[in-house]
């Protein structure tokens, strides 16, 4: 039995056909999936471009209501003083670290001395999503939220290296034992995945505002649609002077700070 030219061509042809078939199967997302139809919830809050405004003139220095609300809602673990394993979605950072490009040596005391609320900026041009090899993090085209799919994250941490704001945390340890009270409605994460603020996508889907916005009694957090001229975020940006974090990098943050 010899393997001639004819056999070789037949075999490679078969290979090519099966490669095409595999691609076709992959392009058909419900292949082998559930038989029923799916749809969005009717009371979901939607927007073309979600954005947040942090009003630093209203945000109280020592208040942590928004942080507590976010971290409880989303089962974010608390490692106390153990900074090496720290996981955070929203936290306070000294002004000079938050806005290193604001180069003025002397600033208003109430600014230079204070700590600023920071979280994922849901950048218009996010470097984090471009480097993710598994598309575990991606920018939703509908509303601009930079999402995380923890089922897919392989923990390579490329996204953490790419994010210029340190908005992402890695789970070095099993987070469960470090969550004081687990909120059963929301999943925890496992060791080896990256997490961050997701603009409360699952609350929006159920018609609720983000947990941090709801928790702030001083209304220092304003959330809305930048593409809607009458939205509360557009109104405040029209009336007040605002800055963004590291705008020179071209990431186009969607979190604005009124100072």
């Amino acid at each position: 039995m010899s393997f001639n030219r004819r056999d070789f061509l037949k075999l490679t042809g078969l290979g090519a056909v099966s490669a095409v078939a595999a691609r076709a199967a992959a392009a058909f997302p419900f292949f082998g999936g559930a038989p029923g139809a799916v749809k969005a919830e009717t009371n979901a809050k939607t927007a073309k471009r979600w954005a947040m405004v942090v009003d630093l003139t209203k945000c109280k220095e020592n208040c942590t209501d928004c942080i507590d609300a976010c971290h409880t809602t989303h089962n974010v673990p608390d490692f106390g003083d153990d900074k090496r394993h720290e996981v955070k979605w929203i936290w306070k950072e000294p002004y000079k670290q938050s806005f290193p490009d604001q180069e003025n040596e002397f600033l208003k005391d109430d600014l230079s001395e204070r700590r600023v609320l920071v979280f994922c900026n849901h950048c218009q041009n996010p470097p984090c999503t471009r480097v993710c090899p598994t598309r575990a993090t991606w920018k939703r085209p509908e509303d601009g939220i930079v999402m995380m799919d923890w089922h897919r994250c392989i923990g390579c941490r490329y996204c953490m290296a790419a994010c210029p704001y340190g908005s992402r945390s890695f789970n070095w340890l099993d987070p469960r034992p470090h969550i004081k009270t687990i909120t059963p409605d929301y999943p925890t994460r496992t060791r080896g995945v990256v997490e961050k603020c997701n603009f409360c996508d699952s609350r929006l889907a159920q018609g609720q505002m983000p947990a941090c916005v709801e928790a702030c009694k001083d209304r220092a957090l304003i959330f809305g649609d930048l593409e809607a001229p009458d939205s509360p975020v557009r109104q405040i940006l029209r009336e007040r002077f605002s800055i963004r974090r590291k705008p020179e990098l071209g990431t186009q943050p969607q979190v604005y700070y009124v100072v």
């Binding site: 082998g32 999936g33 559930a34 038989p35 029923g36 799916v38 089922h151 687990i182 929301y186």
Partner: protein, 127 residues
């Protein structure tokens, strides 16, 4: 050249040892053990019993991808057109409240270890 007896004897011992788990279970009357998941009688599941038995994992894969990646959270059953929230801990565990008596029954028997519960919370286990 006349070791037939030894060989057969050796083989008998070998197979007796190899099949120890089988005859041991038979002797103890456990050979007909079947997992017995507790299905609480609350009417229909989201799809037919047969479909859920064979393909609940496919359904859950679709649910996961639709909720996380497509922001679609409502599932319309082909059984009765009823709408269900695609949620493991709310919808599935809403009826099958006891994960240990339901999911784990067959999963343990079949020696499969799905990692859903590494992240998703079993409200019962967590009281």
């Amino acid at each position: 050249m006349h070791d037939g007896g030894k060989i057969m004897g050796g083989l008998a011992v070998f197979f007796a040892l190899l099949l120890f788990p089988v005859w041991n279970n038979l002797a103890q009357g456990k050979a007909d053990y079947r997992p017995n998941p507790q299905i609480l009688p609350k009417g229909n599941c989201v799809e037919s019993r047969e479909y859920m038995l064979s393909s609940h994992m496919d359904l859950l894969n679709t649910w996961r991808d639709q909720v996380v990646r497509q922001d679609k959270r409502i599932y319309v059953s082909t059984l009765d057109g009823k709408e269900h929230l695609m949620s493991l801990s709310k919808t599935c565990l809403g009826c099958h409240t006891n994960k240990a008596e339901f999911c784990d029954q067959c999963h343990t028997y079949m020696n499969v270890a799905p990692y859903c519960w590494d992240c998703h919370v079993d409200p019962q286990a967590n009281k």
